[in-house]
Protein backbone atom coordinates (compact mmCIF):
# COMPACT_ATOMS: atom_id res chain seq x y z
CA UNK A 1 0.00 0.00 0.00
CA UNK A 2 2.82 2.37 0.86
CA UNK A 3 4.23 1.59 -2.54
CA UNK A 4 0.90 2.28 -4.18
CA UNK A 5 0.67 5.65 -2.52
CA UNK A 6 4.26 6.51 -3.35
CA UNK A 7 3.86 5.53 -6.99
CA UNK A 8 0.58 7.40 -7.18
CA UNK A 9 2.03 10.54 -5.65
CA UNK A 10 4.94 10.31 -8.04
CA UNK A 11 2.61 10.07 -11.04
CA UNK A 12 0.56 13.01 -9.91
CA UNK A 13 3.63 15.10 -9.38
CA UNK A 14 4.71 14.34 -12.90
CA UNK A 15 1.25 15.20 -14.19
CA UNK A 16 1.16 18.41 -12.23
CA UNK A 17 4.57 19.33 -13.55
CA UNK A 18 3.54 18.71 -17.13
CA UNK A 19 0.00 19.94 -17.42
CA UNK A 20 0.17 19.09 -21.08
CA UNK A 21 -0.04 15.44 -20.17
CA UNK A 22 -3.70 15.70 -19.40
CA UNK A 23 -4.60 18.78 -21.39
CA UNK A 24 -3.25 17.42 -24.63
CA UNK A 25 -5.26 14.22 -24.94
CA UNK A 26 -8.33 16.32 -24.40
CA UNK A 27 -7.36 18.80 -27.07
CA UNK A 28 -6.44 16.01 -29.41
CA UNK A 29 -9.85 14.49 -28.87
CA UNK A 30 -11.54 17.75 -29.66
CA UNK A 31 -9.44 18.37 -32.73
CA UNK A 32 -10.06 14.90 -34.13
CA UNK A 33 -13.75 15.46 -33.58
CA UNK A 34 -13.60 18.68 -35.54
CA UNK A 35 -11.72 16.98 -38.35
CA UNK A 36 -14.78 14.95 -39.22
CA UNK A 37 -17.19 17.73 -40.08
CA UNK A 38 -14.34 19.26 -42.08
CA UNK A 39 -13.43 16.09 -43.89
CA UNK A 40 -16.96 14.99 -44.55
CA UNK A 41 -18.54 18.31 -45.20
CA UNK A 42 -21.26 20.01 -43.23
CA UNK A 43 -24.10 17.55 -43.62
CA UNK A 44 -25.96 17.61 -40.26
CA UNK A 45 -27.98 14.43 -40.78
CA UNK A 46 -24.97 12.47 -41.82
CA UNK A 47 -22.99 13.78 -38.89
CA UNK A 48 -25.62 12.93 -36.32
CA UNK A 49 -25.78 9.46 -37.74
CA UNK A 50 -22.07 8.80 -37.45
CA UNK A 51 -21.58 10.77 -34.22
CA UNK A 52 -21.51 7.87 -31.73
CA UNK A 53 -18.95 5.96 -33.74
CA UNK A 54 -16.82 9.02 -34.18
CA UNK A 55 -16.81 9.94 -30.52
CA UNK A 56 -15.62 6.48 -29.72
CA UNK A 57 -12.98 6.40 -32.40
CA UNK A 58 -11.62 9.74 -31.25
CA UNK A 59 -11.55 8.60 -27.62
CA UNK A 60 -9.76 5.45 -28.60
CA UNK A 61 -7.13 7.27 -30.63
CA UNK A 62 -6.49 9.83 -27.97
CA UNK A 63 -5.92 7.17 -25.32
CA UNK A 64 -3.73 5.32 -27.73
CA UNK A 65 -1.60 8.31 -28.51
CA UNK A 66 -0.74 8.94 -24.89
CA UNK A 67 -0.08 5.29 -24.18
CA UNK A 68 3.44 4.99 -25.49
CA UNK A 69 4.96 7.21 -22.85
CA UNK A 70 3.42 5.33 -19.98
CA UNK A 71 6.46 3.28 -19.00
CA UNK A 72 8.98 4.60 -21.52
CA UNK A 73 10.63 7.24 -19.37
CA UNK A 74 10.94 4.96 -16.39
CA UNK A 75 12.50 2.38 -18.65
CA UNK A 76 14.94 4.74 -20.32
CA UNK A 77 16.14 6.25 -17.09
CA UNK A 78 16.61 2.89 -15.46
CA UNK A 79 13.89 3.32 -12.84
CA UNK A 80 12.23 0.09 -13.93
CA UNK A 81 15.35 -2.03 -13.77
CA UNK A 82 16.01 -0.78 -10.26
CA UNK A 83 12.44 -1.58 -9.24
CA UNK A 84 12.51 -5.03 -10.78
CA UNK A 85 15.86 -5.87 -9.24
CA UNK A 86 14.68 -4.91 -5.79
CA UNK A 87 11.40 -6.74 -6.36
CA UNK A 88 9.40 -3.86 -5.02
CA UNK A 89 5.68 -4.52 -4.97
CA UNK A 90 5.55 -3.83 -8.68
CA UNK A 91 1.87 -4.59 -8.98
CA UNK A 92 1.07 -1.47 -7.02
CA UNK A 93 3.33 0.50 -9.24
CA UNK A 94 1.49 -0.85 -12.29
CA UNK A 95 -1.90 -0.13 -10.80
CA UNK A 96 -0.90 3.38 -9.84
CA UNK A 97 0.31 3.98 -13.38
CA UNK A 98 -2.88 2.70 -14.97
CA UNK A 99 -5.20 4.54 -12.63
CA UNK A 100 -3.43 7.83 -12.98
CA UNK A 101 -3.30 7.43 -16.73
CA UNK A 102 -7.05 6.90 -16.73
CA UNK A 103 -7.50 9.99 -14.60
CA UNK A 104 -5.38 12.05 -16.91
CA UNK A 105 -6.59 10.87 -20.30
CA UNK A 106 -10.12 9.54 -19.93
CA UNK A 107 -11.63 11.44 -17.07
CA UNK A 108 -11.37 14.78 -18.88
CA UNK A 109 -13.22 13.25 -21.81
CA UNK A 110 -16.06 12.23 -19.52
CA UNK A 111 -16.20 15.70 -18.07
CA UNK A 112 -16.55 17.42 -21.41
CA UNK A 113 -18.93 14.86 -22.87
CA UNK A 114 -21.92 17.24 -22.54
CA UNK A 115 -20.07 19.72 -24.68
CA UNK A 116 -19.41 17.06 -27.28
CA UNK A 117 -23.02 15.99 -27.31
CA UNK A 118 -23.91 19.58 -27.99
CA UNK A 119 -21.38 19.93 -30.79
CA UNK A 120 -22.48 16.81 -32.57
CA UNK A 121 -26.18 17.37 -31.99
CA UNK A 122 -26.86 14.37 -29.77
CA UNK A 123 -29.95 14.40 -27.57
CA UNK A 124 -30.00 13.71 -23.85
CA UNK A 125 -30.61 9.97 -24.03
CA UNK A 126 -27.83 9.49 -26.55
CA UNK A 127 -25.55 11.62 -24.43
CA UNK A 128 -26.32 9.50 -21.38
CA UNK A 129 -25.44 6.40 -23.37
CA UNK A 130 -22.18 8.00 -24.51
CA UNK A 131 -21.36 8.85 -20.94
CA UNK A 132 -22.15 5.38 -19.63
CA UNK A 133 -20.22 3.57 -22.34
CA UNK A 134 -17.25 5.88 -21.88
CA UNK A 135 -17.38 5.27 -18.16
CA UNK A 136 -17.27 1.52 -18.62
CA UNK A 137 -15.11 1.45 -21.72
CA UNK A 138 -12.30 3.91 -21.12
CA UNK A 139 -10.76 2.00 -18.19
CA UNK A 140 -10.57 -0.91 -20.56
CA UNK A 141 -8.88 1.28 -23.14
CA UNK A 142 -6.31 2.36 -20.58
CA UNK A 143 -5.71 -1.17 -19.37
CA UNK A 144 -5.08 -2.46 -22.85
CA UNK A 145 -2.96 0.55 -23.72
CA UNK A 146 -0.82 -0.17 -20.67
CA UNK A 147 -0.43 -3.73 -21.82
CA UNK A 148 0.66 -2.59 -25.26
CA UNK A 149 3.06 -0.06 -23.78
CA UNK A 150 4.60 -2.69 -21.55
CA UNK A 151 4.93 -5.20 -24.37
CA UNK A 152 6.67 -2.80 -26.72
CA UNK A 153 8.80 -1.20 -24.05
CA UNK A 154 12.24 -2.16 -25.27
CA UNK A 155 11.23 -2.38 -28.92
CA UNK A 156 12.49 0.64 -30.77
CA UNK A 157 9.44 1.05 -32.97
CA UNK A 158 7.64 3.73 -31.05
CA UNK A 159 3.96 4.30 -30.81
CA UNK A 160 2.91 2.89 -34.09
CA UNK A 161 3.75 -0.71 -33.21
CA UNK A 162 1.83 -0.23 -30.02
CA UNK A 163 -1.14 1.02 -32.00
CA UNK A 164 -0.96 -2.00 -34.20
CA UNK A 165 -1.04 -4.41 -31.31
CA UNK A 166 -3.77 -2.74 -29.38
CA UNK A 167 -6.24 -1.52 -31.96
CA UNK A 168 -7.43 -5.03 -32.84
CA UNK A 169 -8.13 -5.62 -29.17
CA UNK A 170 -10.11 -2.40 -29.01
CA UNK A 171 -12.42 -3.44 -31.78
CA UNK A 172 -14.90 -5.52 -29.75
CA UNK A 173 -15.18 -2.64 -27.33
CA UNK A 174 -15.82 -0.24 -30.15
CA UNK A 175 -18.51 -2.44 -31.62
CA UNK A 176 -20.46 -2.81 -28.39
CA UNK A 177 -20.07 0.77 -27.30
CA UNK A 178 -21.22 2.29 -30.54
CA UNK A 179 -24.04 -0.22 -30.79
CA UNK A 180 -25.20 0.92 -27.36
CA UNK A 181 -25.17 4.56 -28.34
CA UNK A 182 -26.91 3.72 -31.60
CA UNK A 183 -29.65 1.88 -29.77
CA UNK A 184 -30.01 4.71 -27.32
CA UNK A 185 -30.49 7.29 -30.03
CA UNK A 186 -33.15 5.06 -31.59
CA UNK A 187 -34.83 4.84 -28.20
CA UNK A 188 -34.09 1.14 -27.81
CA UNK A 189 -32.80 -0.71 -24.79
CA UNK A 190 -29.04 -0.99 -24.52
CA UNK A 191 -28.55 -2.66 -21.17
CA UNK A 192 -27.33 -5.80 -22.94
CA UNK A 193 -24.39 -3.95 -24.46
CA UNK A 194 -23.62 -2.33 -21.13
CA UNK A 195 -23.58 -5.73 -19.49
CA UNK A 196 -21.11 -7.00 -22.07
CA UNK A 197 -18.93 -3.95 -21.54
CA UNK A 198 -18.95 -4.46 -17.79
CA UNK A 199 -18.06 -8.11 -18.21
CA UNK A 200 -15.13 -7.20 -20.47
CA UNK A 201 -13.99 -4.61 -17.98
CA UNK A 202 -14.07 -7.06 -15.07
CA UNK A 203 -12.15 -9.64 -17.03
CA UNK A 204 -9.54 -7.09 -18.05
CA UNK A 205 -9.24 -5.68 -14.53
CA UNK A 206 -8.47 -9.12 -13.23
CA UNK A 207 -6.02 -10.20 -15.89
CA UNK A 208 -4.38 -7.23 -17.54
CA UNK A 209 -2.38 -5.83 -14.59
CA UNK A 210 -0.72 -9.20 -14.17
CA UNK A 211 0.04 -9.40 -17.86
CA UNK A 212 1.48 -5.89 -17.73
CA UNK A 213 3.70 -6.91 -14.85
CA UNK A 214 4.92 -9.93 -16.74
CA UNK A 215 5.58 -7.84 -19.84
CA UNK A 216 7.54 -5.26 -17.87
CA UNK A 217 9.77 -7.89 -16.35
CA UNK A 218 10.30 -9.43 -19.75
CA UNK A 219 11.47 -6.18 -21.21
CA UNK A 220 13.76 -5.29 -18.38
CA UNK A 221 15.34 -8.69 -17.89
Amino acid sequence: MVMFKAAFVREWRLLARQKADWLNPLMFFLIVLTLFPLGIGAKPNLLAEIAPGIIWIAALLSVLLGAERLFKDDFRQGVLEQLVAADEPMLFYVLAKIISSWCSTALPLLLISPLIALLLGLDATAWLAVLLTLLLGTPLLNLLAALGAALTLSADKGGILLALLILPLYIPLLIFASAAVDNASLGLDYSGQLAVLSAMLCLALALVPLAVLKALKLNVG
Binding site: A6, L14, Q77, Q82, A85
Partner: protein, 188 residues
Protein backbone atom coordinates in the same frame (compact mmCIF):
# COMPACT_ATOMS: atom_id res chain seq x y z
CA UNK B 1 29.73 -15.97 -22.77
CA UNK B 2 31.53 -16.65 -19.52
CA UNK B 3 33.69 -19.62 -18.81
CA UNK B 4 33.42 -21.10 -15.39
CA UNK B 5 32.86 -18.09 -13.20
CA UNK B 6 32.66 -19.22 -9.63
CA UNK B 7 32.46 -16.70 -6.85
CA UNK B 8 31.35 -16.39 -3.28
CA UNK B 9 30.79 -13.35 -1.20
CA UNK B 10 30.52 -13.20 2.56
CA UNK B 11 29.06 -10.45 4.71
CA UNK B 12 31.36 -7.48 5.10
CA UNK B 13 33.13 -8.15 1.84
CA UNK B 14 33.61 -6.03 -1.22
CA UNK B 15 33.99 -7.64 -4.60
CA UNK B 16 35.33 -5.62 -7.47
CA UNK B 17 34.73 -7.03 -10.89
CA UNK B 18 37.41 -5.89 -13.26
CA UNK B 19 38.10 -6.39 -16.91
CA UNK B 20 38.39 -4.47 -20.13
CA UNK B 21 35.53 -2.80 -21.92
CA UNK B 22 33.19 -5.48 -23.12
CA UNK B 23 34.59 -8.16 -20.87
CA UNK B 24 31.10 -8.85 -19.56
CA UNK B 25 31.11 -7.05 -16.25
CA UNK B 26 27.71 -5.43 -16.67
CA UNK B 27 26.22 -8.64 -18.00
CA UNK B 28 27.53 -10.51 -14.99
CA UNK B 29 26.12 -7.91 -12.62
CA UNK B 30 22.71 -8.15 -14.25
CA UNK B 31 22.78 -11.90 -13.82
CA UNK B 32 23.80 -11.56 -10.20
CA UNK B 33 21.00 -9.07 -9.64
CA UNK B 34 18.49 -11.48 -11.13
CA UNK B 35 17.73 -9.17 -14.07
CA UNK B 36 19.02 -11.64 -16.61
CA UNK B 37 18.95 -15.38 -16.54
CA UNK B 38 22.19 -17.26 -16.96
CA UNK B 39 22.25 -19.80 -19.77
CA UNK B 40 23.84 -22.26 -17.41
CA UNK B 41 24.59 -22.26 -13.73
CA UNK B 42 22.81 -20.58 -10.88
CA UNK B 43 23.02 -17.65 -8.52
CA UNK B 44 22.57 -18.59 -4.87
CA UNK B 45 21.68 -16.38 -1.93
CA UNK B 46 22.17 -17.99 1.44
CA UNK B 47 22.34 -21.36 -0.33
CA UNK B 48 19.05 -20.89 -2.17
CA UNK B 49 18.49 -19.96 -5.82
CA UNK B 50 17.69 -16.25 -5.93
CA UNK B 51 14.29 -16.80 -7.50
CA UNK B 52 13.05 -18.69 -4.46
CA UNK B 53 14.60 -16.62 -1.71
CA UNK B 54 14.22 -13.22 -0.14
CA UNK B 55 17.17 -12.08 -2.23
CA UNK B 56 15.39 -9.20 -3.97
CA UNK B 57 14.41 -7.71 -0.63
CA UNK B 58 18.07 -7.57 0.29
CA UNK B 59 19.32 -6.04 -2.91
CA UNK B 60 20.00 -2.50 -4.01
CA UNK B 61 20.99 -2.34 -7.68
CA UNK B 62 22.22 0.71 -9.58
CA UNK B 63 23.30 0.06 -13.14
CA UNK B 64 24.72 2.21 -15.91
CA UNK B 65 21.44 4.11 -15.96
CA UNK B 66 20.86 6.49 -13.13
CA UNK B 67 17.17 5.88 -12.53
CA UNK B 68 16.61 9.57 -12.00
CA UNK B 69 13.45 10.96 -13.58
CA UNK B 70 14.36 14.24 -15.31
CA UNK B 71 11.16 16.04 -14.37
CA UNK B 72 11.20 15.21 -10.69
CA UNK B 73 13.27 16.99 -8.07
CA UNK B 74 15.95 15.27 -6.06
CA UNK B 75 13.78 15.33 -2.99
CA UNK B 76 10.83 13.76 -4.73
CA UNK B 77 13.11 11.08 -6.10
CA UNK B 78 14.21 10.21 -2.58
CA UNK B 79 10.67 10.19 -1.24
CA UNK B 80 9.64 7.67 -3.86
CA UNK B 81 12.49 5.36 -3.05
CA UNK B 82 11.92 5.60 0.66
CA UNK B 83 8.39 4.38 0.15
CA UNK B 84 9.52 1.74 -2.29
CA UNK B 85 12.05 0.43 0.21
CA UNK B 86 9.33 0.47 2.85
CA UNK B 87 11.20 2.94 5.02
CA UNK B 88 9.86 5.58 7.32
CA UNK B 89 10.05 9.01 5.72
CA UNK B 90 13.53 10.18 6.59
CA UNK B 91 15.13 13.53 6.28
CA UNK B 92 15.83 13.80 2.58
CA UNK B 93 17.34 17.24 2.99
CA UNK B 94 20.03 15.88 5.24
CA UNK B 95 21.02 13.12 2.84
CA UNK B 96 21.13 15.51 -0.07
CA UNK B 97 23.19 17.97 1.93
CA UNK B 98 25.66 15.24 2.77
CA UNK B 99 25.98 14.64 -0.94
CA UNK B 100 26.72 18.27 -1.62
CA UNK B 101 23.35 18.99 -3.15
CA UNK B 102 22.18 21.52 -0.59
CA UNK B 103 20.15 24.20 -2.30
CA UNK B 104 19.41 22.00 -5.29
CA UNK B 105 16.69 19.87 -3.68
CA UNK B 106 13.82 21.54 -5.48
CA UNK B 107 15.17 21.74 -9.00
CA UNK B 108 14.02 19.21 -11.60
CA UNK B 109 16.87 16.78 -11.98
CA UNK B 110 17.21 17.41 -15.70
CA UNK B 111 18.72 20.80 -14.89
CA UNK B 112 21.42 19.29 -12.72
CA UNK B 113 24.89 18.56 -14.04
CA UNK B 114 25.92 15.02 -14.94
CA UNK B 115 27.74 14.49 -11.68
CA UNK B 116 24.92 15.94 -9.63
CA UNK B 117 22.45 13.58 -11.26
CA UNK B 118 24.73 10.70 -10.42
CA UNK B 119 24.79 11.88 -6.82
CA UNK B 120 21.02 11.95 -6.67
CA UNK B 121 20.95 8.43 -8.02
CA UNK B 122 23.48 7.24 -5.43
CA UNK B 123 21.57 8.91 -2.62
CA UNK B 124 19.54 5.71 -2.38
CA UNK B 125 22.54 4.10 -0.73
CA UNK B 126 22.26 6.56 2.12
CA UNK B 127 18.61 5.58 2.66
CA UNK B 128 18.53 1.86 2.43
CA UNK B 129 19.37 -0.75 5.02
CA UNK B 130 19.64 -3.47 2.41
CA UNK B 131 22.52 -5.86 2.67
CA UNK B 132 23.82 -6.35 -0.82
CA UNK B 133 24.68 -3.47 -3.10
CA UNK B 134 25.34 -4.14 -6.76
CA UNK B 135 26.75 -1.06 -8.46
CA UNK B 136 27.85 -0.71 -12.07
CA UNK B 137 30.54 1.95 -12.38
CA UNK B 138 29.24 4.10 -9.54
CA UNK B 139 32.09 6.60 -9.85
CA UNK B 140 31.16 7.73 -13.35
CA UNK B 141 30.87 11.50 -13.62
CA UNK B 142 31.73 12.03 -9.95
CA UNK B 143 34.44 14.45 -8.89
CA UNK B 144 37.17 13.53 -6.42
CA UNK B 145 35.33 14.72 -3.32
CA UNK B 146 32.24 12.74 -4.23
CA UNK B 147 34.32 9.63 -4.84
CA UNK B 148 35.85 9.95 -1.39
CA UNK B 149 32.39 10.40 0.11
CA UNK B 150 31.10 7.32 -1.62
CA UNK B 151 34.06 5.25 -0.56
CA UNK B 152 33.53 6.28 3.04
CA UNK B 153 29.95 5.12 2.70
CA UNK B 154 31.21 1.80 1.36
CA UNK B 155 33.49 1.34 4.34
CA UNK B 156 30.63 2.09 6.70
CA UNK B 157 28.34 -0.36 4.92
CA UNK B 158 30.94 -3.11 4.99
CA UNK B 159 31.65 -2.59 8.68
CA UNK B 160 27.94 -3.03 9.35
CA UNK B 161 28.07 -6.44 7.73
CA UNK B 162 26.86 -5.44 4.28
CA UNK B 163 28.32 -6.69 1.03
CA UNK B 164 29.13 -4.80 -2.15
CA UNK B 165 29.71 -5.93 -5.69
CA UNK B 166 30.86 -3.24 -8.05
CA UNK B 167 32.67 -2.58 -11.27
CA UNK B 168 34.91 0.34 -11.92
CA UNK B 169 37.82 1.18 -14.15
CA UNK B 170 39.52 3.18 -11.44
CA UNK B 171 41.75 1.28 -9.02
CA UNK B 172 40.10 0.83 -5.66
CA UNK B 173 42.50 -1.28 -3.69
CA UNK B 174 44.35 1.31 -1.63
CA UNK B 175 41.11 2.17 0.14
CA UNK B 176 39.85 -1.35 0.47
CA UNK B 177 42.83 -3.61 1.02
CA UNK B 178 40.61 -6.60 1.69
CA UNK B 179 38.55 -6.27 -1.45
CA UNK B 180 38.33 -9.32 -3.64
CA UNK B 181 39.06 -8.72 -7.29
CA UNK B 182 37.57 -10.79 -10.08
CA UNK B 183 39.17 -10.12 -13.44
CA UNK B 184 37.10 -11.05 -16.45
CA UNK B 185 39.04 -11.63 -19.63
CA UNK B 186 37.86 -10.12 -22.88
CA UNK B 187 37.75 -12.67 -25.63
CA UNK B 188 36.42 -12.38 -29.15
Amino acid sequence: MFEAVNLQLAAGQLLQIGGKNGAGKSSLLRILAGLARPDEGAVLWQHQPIDDSDFPQNLCFIGHLSGVQPQLTALEHLEFWQAAFGLQPADGYRVLATLGLAGLEDIPCQLLSAGQQRRVSLARLWLTQRLLWILDEPFTALDQSAIVLLQQKFTEHLSRGGAIILTTHQPLTQHFPEAQLLELAYRW
